[in-house]
C-alpha cells in the first residue's frame, strides 16, 4: 500500500503542469472573454465579433476550409488505409512507415518546403496551395485511425459475408464500411480540430492573402497589443466550443458503436 501511495505521488508534476498550463489558461480565457479592459463584466467582445461581417465570414470560411480538408483527407486516406490493412501489396509495416514518415519532420518545415515546391513549379500560392498543404500535413492523422480499425477487424467476417453471397462491393458496403465507422470518426476529429485553428500554414501558403480564424486569434494577441486580448479570448472561446462540439459528437458516435459491439 505504501508503495502504491508513493507511486501516485509521481503524478504530481503532471498535475501541476495540467493546472498551470491547461486549467488556469482556460479560466483566464473565460474571464478575459467576458470582461472589458477595466475588468468589468461584458458581452461586448462577442457582440463585436458577430456584428463584424468580416470576422464572421472568416469564421465560416475557416470551417469550410477545414471541412474541405477533412473530406479530401478522408477520400485519400480511406483507400490508403484500406490497402494497407488488407495487405494487398507490400508489407503493411513498410507501408505504414511510409505514410507516417512525413510526421517525423516538423510541420512548419514541411510547409516551408511546400511553399518552395510551389515556387519551383511556378504554381501560385493561395487557396489551392492551402488545401494542398493542409491535406499533406494532416493526411496521416486520417489514415492511422482508419488503418487501425480496419486492421483489427476480424477477417473471418469478410469471409462470412462472401460465403453468404456478397460480392466484393457488397462485402465493402455491408461489412467493412459500417465496421470502420469508429475509425472514420476519429480520423475526422483528428483532422478537423487542428485544421480549424490553423494559422501558420495558411499564412505561409497564401502569403497572408487568406486569413483564417486561427490567424484572427493570433493577430488579436500578437499585433493588437493588450487592448485586443479580451476580443481574442472571446474568439478562442468560440473556437473551443466548435471543436468541443465536434469531438463530443464524435465520441457520442463512437460510444454508440461500442454499444452495438
Amino acid at each position: 500500500m505504501k508503495n502504491f501511495q508513493k507511486r501516485t505521488n509521481w503524478a504530481w508534476p503532471y498535475i501541476i503542469f495540467l493546472i498551470l498550463l491547461v486549467i488556469l489558461p482556460l479560466i483566464l480565457i473565460g474571464i478575459y472573454a467576458f470582461t472589458d479592459l477595466e475588468g468589468h463584466f461584458t458581452v461586448q467582445n462577442f457582440v463585436q465579433f458577430f456584428s463584424k461581417n468580416e470576422a464572421v465570414n472568416t469564421f465560416i470560411y475557416s470551417i469550410a476550409i477545414a471541412l474541405l480538408t477533412t473530406i479530401i483527407c478522408l477520400l485519400l486516406g480511406y483507400p490508403a488505409a484500406y490497402i494497407m490493412a488488407m495487405k494487398s501489396f507490400g508489407t503493411p509495416q513498410v507501408m505504414a512507415l511510409l505514410f507516417i514518415l512525413p510526421m517525423w519532420i516538423n510541420f512548419l518545415l514541411r510547409t516551408i518546403a511546400t511553399v518552395e515546391l510551389f515556387h519551383m513549379l511556378n504554381l501560385p500560392l493561395g487557396e489551392g496551395a492551402l488545401l494542398f498543404g493542409m491535406t499533406y500535413d494532416f493526411l496521416p492523422f486520417m489514415i492511422y485511425p482508419i488503418y487501425n480499425t480496419l486492421q483489427k477487424m476480424d477477417k473471418s467476417l469478410l469471409e462470412a459475408a462472401r460465403d453468404l453471397g456478397a460480392n466484393r462491393r457488397q462485402v465493402f458496403t455491408k461489412v467493412i464500411l459500417p465496421l470502420s465507422i469508429p475509425g472514420i470518426y476519429s480520423g475526422i476529429v483528428m483532422v478537423f480540430m487542428p485544421t480549424v485553428s490553423t494559422f501558420a500554414i495558411s499564412e505561409l501558403l497564401t502569403h497572408n492573402k487568406i486569413t483564417l480564424f486561427g490567424s484572427l486569434i493570433q493577430r488579436s494577441f500578437g499585433e493588437g497589443g493588450i487592448t485586443m486580448w479580451n476580443y481574442g479570448a472571446a474568439l478562442s472561446l468560440i473556437m473551443l466550443i466548435i471543436i468541443g462540439a465536434t469531438s463530443f459528437f464524435g465520441q457520442q458516435e463512437e460510444a454508440g458503436e461500442n454499444m452495438i459491439r
Binding site: D154, E159, R162, L164, G165, K174
Partner: protein, 482 residues
C-alpha cells in the same frame, strides 16, 4: 456429365506461398445428404480442404466439383455452400435478426419472406426469443446457434462446419453434437464437418476422413475406422490402442509378444512383418492363480469366452478409475506393456491372465521395417554424406568405396542415438510422431532439413522435443547403388 456425388474432390494439391503443401493428392467423394467428418490433428490440412470447398482458397492442382459442376475457380459467393465458422464470425454491427437475414437480403428476397424464414431458422436453432439481441450479449453456444441459423437459412446444398464446437465447454459441446445430428436429419442436406476431436467424429459422422500432413490416411464409417484402422497413425489417433510389432506367419496366424495367435486377417503373405492393433477394451482379463480366492473375485469362466484361445500373462502395474471402467497397465514377463480396460479393477501387483478374440486383432502392413534408407555419397575426406551432413563410417564399410561413389545408406532404427541437447548431434531435429509399441517407442524424427527418420528407443520423449541425432559409425551400413 452428372456425378452421383454432390462433392467430388479430385487429386487436389494445395501449395502455399512458402512452398509448404497443405494438401497432397486429396481425393474425396461425398454423397448427397451424407454427414462426413474430416478428422486430424492441427496442421493436417483439414481446414484447408474445407476452405477449398468453400472457395476461400483455390486448389493449386486438381479440381473440385459440386453437383458435377467444376467450381475449382468459382468465387465463394457463387457457390451453393455455406459455412459455419469456428469463431462464429457474426457481424458485430448487426443484431441477431439482421445477421440471420444477411444472406437473404443480399439475394433480394421479399421482406415478408425474409421475416418468415428468419423466424423459422431461429426456431430451428432454438433462438426464437433472441431476434433483436446484440450478438455480443450472447453466450458462445448461443452465438454458434445464430451462426448455424445464418448459414442454413440460405438453404445450401452443402453445409460446411469448421470446428464449430471447439470454443464451447464440454457439456455444451455434447448437447450441440446431438442437436447438430438432429438438424442434419431434419434438413437432409450434406454436412462436411471439420474437427480434431475423434470422439466427436465417431459420434456424428456417417463417414470419417482421417487426414495427416495433407494426405488422407483412411476413409470409412466410424466403426471401420475404429475397428480396422489402416495404419498406426489412424489406430493411435482414434481411441486408445495397443500397437505392437508382429509377424504374420501365414493367413489367419500371427505372432506377437513371443506368442502365436489366431486372427481373421489374410493376404499379407508368409512371415511378413506387420503391426498389430488391439483395443484395450477387447482384452479379456482375469486373476491368474489357483489357490487364493477372494470374495470380490469373479469366476473367470463367466467372463472369459470359451474356446481354445491363446492366453498370455502379466502383472498389473497401474490402475486408474475412468468413470465407467478401470484402465490398467499390465506388464508381461518378457517386457511388453498392455493397456487393458475392464469394469473390474485388478490392483497393481495382481498376476493376471489375458486373451483376445481373433476378430479383435487388427493387422496392419508395416510401413517401415528395421532400417532407414538414405541416398549418400562418399566424400573426399573419407566420410559419407547423407541427410545434408557428413558422417564417420567404419573402415570395413568404407573399404569397398572410392570418394565420389554414390551409395545406399542403411541405418537400423534401433541404433540411432538421440541427445537431449540438439547441438550434441551431427544433425538436429524434432520429435514428430511417437508410437508406443508395447515394449519400446517408435519415434519419427524430422530433421531441420525436413527429412524423416525412424528411431526405436526405450527413452521417453515428447512430441516436439528438440533432439541431437547421433549415429555410431559401426551402425552405418553402406550398399552399392544398383
Amino acid at each position: 456429365m452428372k456425378s452421383d456425388y454432390i462433392i467430388d474432390v479430385n487429386h487436389v494439391f494445395k501449395q502455399f506461398e512458402d512452398g509448404q503443401y497443405a494438401l497432397r493428392d486429396v481425393t474425396l467423394h461425398v454423397k448427397k445428404g451424407e454427414f462426413v467428418t474430416i478428422l486430424g490433428p492441427s496442421g493436417c490440412g483439414k481446414t484447408t480442404l474445407l476452405r477449398c470447398i468453400a472457395g476461400f482458397q483455390v486448389a493449386s492442382e486438381g479440381d473440385i466439383l459440386l453437383n458435377g459442376e467444376d467450381v475449382t475457380q468459382m468465387p465463394p459467393h457463387l457457390r451453393p455452400v455455406n459455412t459455419v465458422f469456428q469463431k462464429y464470425a457474426l457481424f458485430p454491427h448487426l443484431n441477431v435478426y439482421e445477421n440471420v437475414a444477411f444472406g437473404l437480403k443480399l439475394k433480394g428476397v421479399e421482406k415478408s419472406e425474409v421475416e418468415r424464414r428468419v423466424k423459422r431458422a431461429l426456431k430451428m436453432v432454438a433462438m426464437s426469443d433472441y431476434e433483436f439481441r446484440d450478438v455480443d450479449s450472447l453466450s458462445g453456444g448461443q452465438q454458434q446457434r445464430v451462426a448455424i441459423a445464418r448459414a442454413i437459412i440460405n438453404e445450401p446444398e452443402v453445409l460446411l462446419l469448421d470446428e464449430p464446437l471447439a470454443a464451447l465447454d464440454l457439456k455444451m459441446r455434447k448437447d450441440m453434437q446431438l442437436e447438430l445430428k438432429e438438424m442434419h436429419k431434419k434438413l437432409g442436406i450434406t454436412f462436411i464437418y471439420v474437427t480434431h476431436d475423434q470422439e466427436e467424429a465417431l459420434t456424428l459422422s456417417d463417414r470419417i476422413v482421417v487426414m495427416r500432413e495433407g494426405k488422407i490416411q483412411q476413409i470409412g464409417t466410424p466403426t471401420d475406422i475404429y475397428n480396422e484402422p489402416q495404419n498406426c497413425f489412424v489406430a493411435d489417433f482414434i481411441g486408445e490402442s495397443n500397437i505392437l510389432s508382429g509377424t504374420m506367419i501365414r493367413d489367419h496366424r500371427v505372432r506377437f509378444c513371443d506368442k502365436e495367435f489366431d486372427c481373421i486377417d489374410e493376404g499379407f503373405g508368409e512371415n511378413t512383418a506387420v503391426d498389430v492393433v488391439i483395443r484395450p477394451e477387447d482384452i479379456y482379463i482375469w486373476r491368474k492363480g489357483d489357490g487364493i480366492v477372494q470374495p470380490e473375485d469373479v469366476d473367470p469362466d463367466d467372463r472369459v469366452p470359451k474356446g481354445n484361445y491363446t492366453k498370455w500373462y502379466g502383472v498389473v502395474e497401474s490402475s486408474i478409475f475412468k468413470g465407467v471402467h478401470y484402465e490398467m497397465t499390465v506388464k508381461t514377463a518378457n517386457g511388453y506393456e498392455f493397456m487393458v480396460q475392464d469394469y473390474h479393477e485388478f490392483l497393481p501387483g495382481t498376476e493376471v491372465g489375458m486373451l483376445v478374440k481373433p476378430e479383435d486383432i487388427q493387422i496392419m502392413k508395416k510401413e517401415h521395417y528395421i532400417y532407414n534408407y538414405f541416398d549418400g555419397e562418399i566424400t573426399k575426406n573419407g566420410k559419407v554424406r547423407f541427410l545434408e551432413a557428413d558422417w564417420d563410417v567404419s573402415d570395413e564399410q568404407m573399404a569397398a568405396f572410392q570418394p565420389g561413389d554414390k551409395v545406399r545408406v542403411r541405418v537400423p532404427f534401433r541404433d540411432i542415438d538421440l541427445q537431449d541437447h540438439e547441438n550434441e548431434g551431427v544433425l538436429s531435429g524434432e520429435v514428430h510422431f511417437i508410437l508406443y509399441k508395447g515394449n519400446h517407442y517408435n519415434l519419427t524424427i524430422r530433421t531441420d532439413e525436413g527429412y524423416d527418420m525412424y528411431v526405436y528407443t526405450n527413452d521417453i520423449w515428447d512430441d516436439g522435443d528438440r533432439v541431437g541425432i547421433v549415429i555410431p559409425k559401426e551402425s552405418i551400413i553402406l550398399d552399392k547403388v544398383q
